[in-house]
């Protein structure tokens, strides 16, 4: 009985420890020792009221003793961890997690500081892991976090008043979305041992959704992440070159993530007020549910973009909407609209124009726009991709 209880708890205890201290190997050793201690003490003294907390506390103490014995290699943040003897509060109450998320995304902090602090305090990543994930030196992240903590020194650890809550939750959503996008758009292999930012963002979004199940935008964001991440296995070809949505091998998409994301968004759309994350998730769902690219329900996607333009207008929404418009009414109509929108002097507009010219049978024009986009982007993977598209459009037979 105790044996099976212990077995069930191992992954949870280990996860809690690795999140808190990093270094899987050492945490694993510490958890093993805690299990041994439990196997000896529990049959004698009875099973504790909260066995998981008991194991986490015991394993944490063991882990800290290991550090004390490796004093030579103690890093600053580990020293701090060692100075705070762990208590049963290592397993936070639900409200604490929400309070902590809201605090990390406090309006007094810059966006990059909010991101770093959220990953560190709620995600449990080390400063080194965050620095690796964002390809910046560790001191940069360390400073970002310590400055953020200084700024929050006076802030109360409590839920904000009800009237501020929607705005504060919106900030958390934006931070989680940023973390997800960073992970999603990183060129594969751009950093060794990169923490999986997409997985981390999804994990945090799941927590937030569990805390606020009736919030449609939280559900929408989680659905958007699941429906986008589902395509990941098909997003890059064997040569590491990105594969555009229309050409992806859909059998490689993650069907269970699509099912979960679709169910989430359907439920949110029918039970809560609509919002931008829900609309983006709905668009992703329409793409994911099409068996082939040609079966995509473009009129539905166009309708969703029209709504999104009302709710959350912006240049990227305008551009994506034009791609859908070209599928519904033809590239000439979309090109005419693109010409009529003046605020779109952005390399992304060059890419959309290239795509529309490609569709309308003007490979030379498309080539020139892809080249121009490649020259203007600040992203290396994008530049390589646009250059590849420019070459391809000139060598292709019209489709």
């Amino acid at each position: 009985m105790i044996d099976s209880l212990l077995r069930d708890l191992i992954p949870q205890v280990l996860t809690a420890l690795v999140r808190r201290y990093g270094d899987f190997g050492k945490c694993e050793d510490a958890v093993q020792e805690a299990l041994l201690a439990a196997a000896v003490q529990w049959p004698k003294d009875g099973v504790p009221d909260n066995p998981k907390a008991w194991l986490i506390t015991t394993a944490s103490r063991r882990r800290i003793e290991m550090w004390r014995s490796e004093a030579a290699r103690i890093r600053r943040e580990e020293t701090v961890a060692a100075l705070e003897p762990p208590s049963f509060e290592l397993v936070p109450q639900q409200d604490d997690t929400l309070t902590l998320l809201l605090l990390c995304c406090h309006p007094a902090l810059s966006r990059p500081s909010q991101v770093a602090l959220t990953l560190r305090a709620v995600g449990g990543l080390t400063t080194a892991e965050i620095a690796r994930a964002y390809l910046v030196p560790e001191p940069t992240i360390g400073q970002r976090i310590s400055r953020a903590k200084q700024k929050l020194r006076g802030a109360e650890f409590a839920l904000p008043p009800q009237d501020q809550l929607p705005e504060r939750v919106a900030a958390v959503l934006q931070v989680l979305y940023l973390v997800f996008t960073e992970g999603h758009t990183a060129s594969s292999g751009s950093a060794v041992n990169r923490v999986e930012l997409t997985a981390e963002a999804i994990r945090l979004a799941r927590q937030l959704h569990a805390l606020l199940p009736a919030d449609g935008e939280v559900a929408g964001l989680l659905a958007l992440m699941l429906l986008t991440d589902a395509r990941r296995p098909a997003r890059t070809g064997p040569d590491g070159i990105p594969v555009p949505l229309a050409e992806q091998n859909r059998s490689r998409w993650d069907a269970s993530a699509i099912a979960e994301g679709s169910a989430l968004i359907e439920h949110a759309l029918t039970t809560t007020p609509v919002g931008p994350y829900q609309l983006q998730a709905a668009i992703a769902a329409v793409h994911d549910e099409a068996p082939t690219a040609d079966d995509t329900d473009w009129p539905q996607i166009l309708l969703l973009y029209d709504l999104l333009q009302q709710l959350a207008p912006g240049p990227m929404v305008d551009l994506n909407r034009l791609v859908a418009l070209a599928r519904v009414e033809g590239p000439a109509v979309a090109l005419a609209e693109l010409d009529a929108t003046e605020h779109l002097d952005h390399y992304r507009a060059d890419v959309v124009r290239a795509h529309l010219l490609e569709l309308s049978g003007d490979p030379r024009g498309a080539h020139d726009c892809y080249v121009r986009a490649a020259q203007r982007t600040l992203s290396l993977p994008e530049r390589e991709y646009f250059e590849a598209r420019a070459l391809r459009v000139m060598s292709e037979k019209p489709r």
Binding site: P139, T140, I141, Q143, S190, N320, V323, L380, E382, R383
Partner: protein, 126 residues
Amino acid sequence: MKYLVLIYGNPASRAAWAGMSDEQKAEGLRAYQRFHEELERTGERIVSERLAAPELTKQVHVRADGVSTTDGPFAEIKEQLAGFYLLECDSEARALEIAARIPEAPFATIEVRPVMGLTGDVDFEL
């Protein structure tokens, strides 16, 4: 985001430095030290270096007939790279703000250039 800040000296700025008293030069270096300490505290300086005198420049020419090197920059080039900073900042505005506070900025030409990143959205719905 990372930004490269390039500092270009010119004959006037080089003459100004050469004409300073030892004490003025020492104060100039102290100003840099204070500047760097602050950037160290904010975690925004990844690396910065001051380049040796322009006349120590070597040019490398790789041509069909082989590799050769020549001394020095061309005399007609008035503006010479004198140093650089690689910054990690929250925004371009912040990078420009830091660049404007480089001690020799009043005498030099300062350029701020964004560095290419390794993330990019190539998978939008085309």
